[in-house]
Point group: C4
Chain length 191, copies 4
């Protein structure tokens, strides 16, 4: 089967998730500067989640670029990834509207962790289908960034109950790690 519809469907879902998050940015009550203040934490979490969804879209784009065919397993692995991504607007809203309280901050990390695992499963499914000469396996390499992200998510989830700002800092760090062009970060990480 060709990968065209899997790409189109994933594009659609991620595009909608990004824009659904905007619906959580409620129109401010009042027309003064103070009316904007309660929007700030919600806006910042929106920005963070926007970047995460952007990273997923970007990486998904790259991963499928190195893929020629898809099968039933790949389709379900992809739907599994999209399921966890679909919860991002919910946990973004919960965290943003509660000033980064410990539990919502931890749950935000849990969803990021599960999405990261979903991505890993999809990657593994594609590599398995491609067989021994897998283009994707060579492109991914040891996937150090992926493994570090998972560790950082786990640390962030646990630390949310100690000091949530460390958790937020770790989420931002993971996002930045993926934003920076790929090869550089990987060579830095290897050192």
């Amino acid at each position: 089967m060709s990968k065209g519809r899997l790409e189109a469907f994933s594009d659609g879902v991620i595009a909608i998730l990004i824009t659904i998050m905007v619906l959580e940015l409620k129109i401010p009550l009042g027309t003064q500067w103070e009316a904007l203040r309660p929007l700030l934490p919600v806006f910042l979490t929106y920005l963070l989640s926007y970047v995460f969804l952007g990273i997923y879209w970007n990486n998904h784009h790259h991963m499928l670029h190195a893929t020629d065919q898809v099968n039933g397993k790949t389709l379900w692995a992809n739907l599994h990834l999209l399921f966890w991504l679909s919860l991002i607007p919910l946990v973004t809203g919960w965290m943003g509207q509660n000033d980064f309280a410990p539990l919502p901050t931890a749950v935000y990390g849990v969803v990021l962790l599960l999405a990261a695992m979903g991505y890993l499963i999809l990657q593994t499914a594609i590599i398995a289908q491609q067989g021994t000469h897998s283009k994707l396996r060579r492109a991914v390499g040891k996937d150090l960034k992926g493994k570090i992200s998972v560790v950082l998510y786990v640390v962030a989830i646990l630390l949310a109950f100690v000091d949530r700002w460390i958790s937020i800092g770790l989420y931002v760090f993971v996002a930045l790690m993926w934003l920076v062009p790929d090869r550089r970060i990987e060579s830095i990480v290897r050192e």
Copy 2:
């Protein structure tokens, strides 16, 4: 006419339906564990409906893979299927927010039944257009899974007023039946 836009349009509608359901997962009030508890039934119904929509997308993908051309009848048969699918977020929300009460649980099954029939009609329309050497007819075979699903939906709808948990169990069973790779289940079913 080419099938490209029919695929793109269906992808769009199903992608939106999946993400619209997330909007029913209201942001929890409070930041403690108890705040998450009322979300549980809504979350589980979301998961179930997500799997059903995923199955429809998956099967739709396969069905159109075995299709070359579409005509006016196919377009309307497709819109008919999408109509019933579009009601899934509504009945999902109704069932989830009312702890699987009998009537919402039955109505959920009615929408699943009508969607299954819509799928069957679309399948029949494509086979009719393809004529005697229909690729799709050979692929579908006797469509045992399709027929069993319809019977199970009818049973589940009726039993919702006796014991709703049987109905829920049947819905889950149908979903699992389609999730499991196609050929295996069919050979099991034939025995």
Copy 3:
């Protein structure tokens, strides 16, 4: 310019409009049969608007099938059509939630009329671009159905203040006129 993105964008907008209307179908309060009763008029208007949007998508599909190139004017004519279509969820909700009161019923017709004119403008823009040997002009012919629809919309808008059920009847008639396969109706109309 190629028509691919115009098609994809229109597919996206119409797919979203169809599913946004479902959001107006509020989850029933209560779990008894009576809880479903207030949903009935909203459901019926949803069905009617779904069919209208389906017709537009279908005809748009056919029209662009007979089109090879698009230019700036076509893009804006298309955005103009989509603007009026985008108001359909709003007027559908207004009419459905007010038991087909005269003004909402008339305004519903006004939006349908403006959408029909938007479609005509788009059609004219494409024919103008195609020049004297326009494929689309031959396909459209005298466009009797288009002209009759406009007349019926105007009549329905005016009669909404006399007897709204006549208006509703006319809207349903126009929808059925377009649902029935094209050539037959046209030959009937010509007699």
Copy 4:
């Protein structure tokens, strides 16, 4: 990398943003003419923002028509543009529901300004990738319209606190400037 998915994703996001704005047009309370009156400012701001998003989609379409390949930088420049566009429904609703109060009117301009800059950054990224023989650079020329728009946005933001109607007038002027066919306006501007 091919540009197909970048186009499809952008189409999806812009299509959803346009239709999400319709959700701010709340269904009127009551069925008389007066019920429609409070909708008027919201409707007019919807129309204005619809035109702006239409212009962005149209220009995005043209820009990518003159582009063959995309790279990681282009993908992120595109996501950056879409981020600011995604805030348009929010500021549209804020301005429309507060009768064009000074602060919301200024913030509306700020988002338009940031979107314009996002567009410029994307344009620069594509030109940089295309190198010295950039098709896009020749097509864009000195980009007088782009520069004038930025100046007008800044003026409009500042004047919102003096007389907001001047700001609104400037926003409408910028929209019209882009709506009118390209070459004419540019030659007028050069005189």
